[in-house]
Symmetry: D2
Subunit: 387 residues, 4 copies
């Protein structure tokens, strides 16, 4: 039982912290940030900087061009990257690419890796993960999957609609989850340039930090070959889990950085802004909120580190990642909400970055399993005596 | 002790409910809604509809062209108006005009009423309330007021900066709070067209429901005459209270309508969306949130009604309006946040109106006194034995 | 819509407040208060005082010897009575007698009223309500009722176990809920002196305010006649509802008084106790808690008043009483918990009465429907569109 | 960064868990448990069992007869010991002896160790820590200390009152904090048998787990010699900190065990108790509470472990122990409160041990610094830029 950060972690932490502060934060006022995320142009500029700093796609294996980080190393580095809303984009560790890269490393065959994974790791292309669907299709309950893959000749024809597909617009690769005639699910890799895949609608969302934003995607009679199957047919739900447990955790890491940023902005303001005869940070009404922030950040970090350690032991970590998802997403949200409150007018306008963090973070309590689905799943484990 | 709604209230409620549903809700997808609120064009179109429905500026006195509502009648009608984000704009009961109209009725002289109040009540012009300032000026603590009014000849010269001025862009009338040489504060009425008043910066805010948005305003050597003083010189802080207590309460009323709307959208979704074998509303994880929504709406409404009754008795209502501001703003926020959570992806994107309500409402826990300032003030009353 | 207290209410309020302060509070240190409530001796002494003050059993009809209070009048009077843990005992309005008296007035026949109701109203005897059972019997789910009433000759034989029976020890009358052969439920009136009814075990509970405490009761072959049936056979569940909705509300009223008492003790302490250079009530950490107390008391009171008004209109009030039960029990609990916290050592020992209120109140979030069952029931109404 | 429990920890954990389950839990229904804690007789019987199991006073150094545990080892072992309300008494690791033993090891001279520390470690005698006083003396604010030590001849005369002195009745050793003429504070060791030290009043408290309960102690003209000074004169406040930081943490450890126990009892009940057609643990209303319990236990444990590690590094750990005190005491309280709620009637009566844990634990949010004082202190560190 040891909470020491290793020398390598400390080095990665320092390098990332400096990179974010020096190179990324100045871009936060760059006009190339739209309602639907940074432009591709801005993204490439940031990626180039990370490449230069040798911090690009650090979670990928060394063979593939990354730094081959352990989950615990990711915990430290990703928190730092998350300190700027643009950090994860710069380091190419944002959703959904970060999780897609991880899954492809584990599941894809060599040919697929060469074709899709390498350019993803280089930050040359982006990918999207086509899983969730409009009602009555798959949402929190993946079992409702309605997109179909029907066998034809030596391949399949895919038909369906996908909703809330992050990064779809501008992505090169689509990973599509579809239902097989036998009811099982399979993941397919497809080129987003195919005309059978159409952006039906670009959604406007609370968040604006994901390149490409979120879209409603329609797939009409998309022909794919057996070579386009990711891993084995029928194992789609399993691979989704391979992807989800760590992807869920990396969300927690990145948002921890964002929450810390919001807190830091609030702390600075609380030292300067006067009210009723003293700096507002000397009023317990404010200082108690800052203290709660610190405790929430601390508890979230410890839970993230613990789950990262569990995953590093090669354990499944399903329970731990569910607990951490709920603990961290709710604690981090409280931090951001309190920071907004302390900042007053500066917290709800563009006079600080906190209003943006507030908008960006809200969906985190929903995606990768809403708090309610995780509580339900933890409760079921308790009922069964396995938690 | 009687919770019966009077026949007149019931009539106003029904008429407003129908007006909102039939006339206003269809405009919610009108493209003339910008980051900085509805365009002036859209606003005038909506105002014309309310005029037609005889629901325009209903809180103004009958002499001035309103319906002369009691606070309790406002409670009922404003809740209905708030059911659409565009409702208060249509009825001309949105901040800051609603409060400005109320204050002008109480404090302005006949000439000022003719010049400013009548066109405001008709919805022909808009006004803004220039009180808060950038640090280190007046914010939650009005005592920090730094804008000055220096006597010259038969008038004053005003200099200062004002921040978070809602509706400033496009307003015709500015009500400016400034500090006199003796330290007291005075309110002045000024034409926003004067070149000495400049929109320094249009802020981007979380909310997008106020026509004109929020601005940073600079006032440079603005000459005003004694006739431009609102009420008596030196009584500015007093008039701010005259304005604030009811204005605070009408915020609670309008946002109650918004919260109810968010809840209704969530209820409808909870009946249709399936997950894990049944509508999500049949899962206690969701149904408990809906039950909590109902209780929060109920408690907020009762507290609003009670404070409205207190004000109708001619009592000051300072304690009650502070309590209601905290109770209602926090309860209504919880309702909207839970509704977002239940709606999942539809709650954080433009697929429902709830994401917009979420953005619009956050600042309500801050303006007209943040929760912390009200708790502090209630606590002081308790310490003094007057609560 | 009028929150004015009527002159009669004001009179009852003043009389009760004075009676509690002058006559009842001095008994709070009387040694005749045991782990299982006041002794019968103490109870009779208190009842005699209330009789003298013409405040005894005020909710009973005038014919039966009470004051014939409306629900709203009860709201005002019971809150005052609850200001002392001994108040409801003195006024004979404590659970379960208060609810039993109400139900007997509505359902009992003349003979039963003469035999049981009159002495109950006079405070000469006590009663208990034998409904809940040990697992797997009736608890939060009354449908699990296992006590049976088997027809024999011209009567029935009752067998079963009852748990958490408040006031059983020392009661003269038992109202027993039992299942009929056809699955319906019937209420029977029985003399607790019958040897077929046995106190199996006197439970030690957190609370100590109910005369007779709580017991595990065993009923073995208890012969009852048809004349012992309360109301009609098979309508037991219906009568339980007749009893519950108002009984639930009177709990809220009494505990509101207790919560107010705890708050008052905390306020007084916060003015006197110094820490870090000033009275603790001048620290926002404490004053914010007191402000929250005031808001919780206010919201609970308004919700109680509203439901009382609904019941006074002759409406069923099922939804309203569920909402008020949750709102009030949770708000009042927070008040007491915060008061304990403010009082520190005095809050967790017998140096103030607050530790006793803390112990006495915890079960209130459980009995007459735990918060969870009410949320579930409110949620079901929402799902059905009837809330 | 490693969350692995060492083999030694695992061994201690297993041994303690078995000892508690086999030897201690059966005593939980022993009648020798009074309102003021276990009798001395029962305490000695339990201590003898722990001695036999080689688990007595495990935190003392090996030289003194303990196991010389690190803070992290304590974290693991104390949690197990806390699983029964009698566990800490049996292992002689309960407050205040546990903290007193630690402080004496660090500060006492050899003679004092022989006289007081050895018999304390053996569990032959008990001690009390006389610090807090009745208003207007030292409470949360130690600076208000009013007990005086006046120099006479070759010693001092101590006069004062001490309140909430845990374990005073029956203790052999008193550690008395008193103010010197120069305003500094000194700790003195005194024999509780001295007639100048009097138990003024035995308090009745919510908790019943501390041997000797809590008392109001009066010290009248107590003559002590210079040899009775603990450490150096004038360093009393410093030693109080030496005692407090780890003592605060061991409270968190022990209560974690209690909270886990409450949760386990609730889990078992949730599997068996049926309502509305299924075990209550299959209702989300209950299973979500159990999930929240698990998350609260997890977060509390991680925070405790982390602070233990900080202390093991020889660091001061002031900030960390403050954060953990708040985090753990509030999380653990929520766990116990939810467990009570799930258990219903069994949670508020002696039908389970949970009602007792509920009573025992409430004061933990108050002693060793109430949450509010810790939030205040954390907030001050933030304001100063040292947190």
């Amino acid at each position: 039982m040891d909470f020491e950060i290793t020398p390598r972690m400390r080095e990665l932490q320092a390098a990332t912290r400096e990179f974010i502060a020096q190179k990324v934060v100045p871009y936060e006022s760059d006009p190339r940030q739209t309602e639907h995320g940074p432009t591709e142009d801005l993204r490439r500029e940031l990626v180039a900087l990370a490449r230069q700093a040798r911090l690009l796609t650090p979670h990928a294996s060394v063979e593939m061009g990354g730094l081959g980080l352990s989950h615990r190393e990711k915990a430290v580095l990703f928190e730092e990257a998350g300190y700027s809303p643009l950090g994860p984009t710069a380091l190419n560790i944002h959703a959904p690419d970060e999780g897609n890269i991880h899954m492809l490393e584990v599941v894809a065959n060599d040919e697929q890796k060469e074709r899709w994974l390498r350019p993803l790791v280089r930050g040359d292309i982006r990918s999207c993960f086509c899983m969730t669907e409009p009602p009555p299709g798959a949402g929190s309950d993946p079992g409702l999957l309605r997109t179909t893959a029907d066998p034809v000749d030596d391949g399949y024809v895919i038909n369906g609609e996908k909703l809330y597909i992050t990064g779809a617009t501008g992505a090169k690769l689509a990973i599509i989850m579809a239902r097989m005639p036998d009811g099982s699910a399979t993941m397919f890799l497809a080129d987003m340039d195919r005309e059978e895949i159409r952006i039906e609608e670009q959604l406007t969302a609370l968040d604006t930090c994901f390149t490409g934003g979120h879209a409603h995607v329609r797939i009409d009679n998309l022909r794919v070959s057996k070579d386009d199957i990711l891993g084995e047919p029928g194992r789609g739900f399993h691979y989704a889990q391979v992807r989800l447990a760590p992807a869920r955790l990396t969300h927690c890491m990145r948002w921890l950085g964002q929450a810390r940023r919001a807190h830091d902005v609030a702390v600075e303001y609380s030292r300067e802004r006067q009210a009723f005869g003293k700096p507002i940070g000397h009023h317990e009404g404010v200082s108690f909120m800052l203290a709660d922030n610190l405790m929430d950040l601390h508890a979230a970090r410890l839970s993230i580190w613990h789950t990262a350690w569990v995953l590093d032991q090669g354990r499944d970590g399903g329970l731990e990642s569910s607990m951490t998802k709920v603990l961290a997403s709710e604690a981090q949200w409280r931090v951001v909400d309190r920071s907004v409150q302390i900042l007053g007018g500066s917290g709800v306008t563009d006079r600080t970055i906190v209003a943006r963090i507030f908008r960006d973070m809200r969906a985190f309590r929903i995606y990768d399993g809403p708090s309610e689905v995780h509580r339900w799943s933890i409760g079921k484990r308790i009922a069964k005596g396995v938690a």
